[in-house]
Symmetry: D3
Subunit: 69 residues, 6 copies
């Protein structure tokens, strides 16, 4: 499946914290570079997300805010 979102980055699942409704997934893009994602618990289970699994972080370009010091 190809998707219209501009950003689709290869990552490795580093941590999965399961809540009552949502699951927090920490994705490692490169050593020391991580992204936190919050998805529903049912999605996390459907995708079989466990530590070490390869996954993509999909982000729309309009959802990337830019900041400078």
């Amino acid at each position: 499946m190809e998707i219209s979102a501009r950003n689709s980055l290869k990552t490795t699942v580093k941590k999965v914290v399961t809540g009552s409704v949502n699951t927090e997934v920490t994705l490692e893009l490169a050593p020391g570079i991580e992204l936190v994602s919050i998805i529903t618990k049912s999605s996390a289970e459907k995708l079989g997300l466990v530590e070490g699994k390869q996954a993509y972080a999909v982000i729309k370009s309009s959802d990337v805010i830019v900041a400078v010091d």
Copy 2:
């Protein structure tokens, strides 16, 4: 300024393409790992975004979709 968005990644501006209303900014997280952001032209000018400048990619955790093959 500290911000509630969970993800605030250090990047280097790699490319800035200015449109009539929006500007597309390519941010390099690490060699070969890039994020594309679309912000308004006026924001890009206010922030002084030019190639080589240090910038942060700020992304809410609920805006990170996870996909697997």
Copy 3:
């Protein structure tokens, strides 16, 4: 590719209007039920979106606002 977004609806592309930066895509879910999507022009081209093509409308559950009369 499987994705964490809860909604992934089968549609047929009904109309594609190409702008300078963005493309407006009208997706038909069922006769008379349509969704409008705005994506970047480059994404629309990469996906090869043309009238009649099968496509999925992917929508995060937190992006669906509910209203009542």
Copy 4:
């Protein structure tokens, strides 16, 4: 009230699952075509969402991601 979001689809509430903070609402667009929405529990109560009620699914066009096989 008229709204700037491009998509406002007529639906019937099919299922309401109430959590501690959020409520998951399943909306039927047509037989077999459903959308899941997650809203706050207080919003769901304010709107009086119950099975069988008519409701609108309001979605911004920029929140509709397009994917192809």
Copy 5:
């Protein structure tokens, strides 16, 4: 129409700048307190947005990021 989005603030349209695809609308919440909204040109026309008109700024609570100095 009642809506699940938590924030629905009364405003007065202060400025409307029409682009080729999008329209930038400045909404005044109170003297000196303004919000900028970008909507599609067709939505702005459908709503009849002109300077001085009463309008609501509708914002999902999950779209309000909090920052501190």
Copy 6:
């Protein structure tokens, strides 16, 4: 830190309701004008949000929906 989001409004924290995962923050823009934000509990703690604290409500212009009666 300067940010690409168009709206950055000065507010005072009026109420903080802490859930198991998320925190609901009520921000006062002016007397009688309030915005509700939902952020993660860990973000609320990191920012030290308590009643009476000065804070900014940061909102992307594309997240401001406009409605009229």
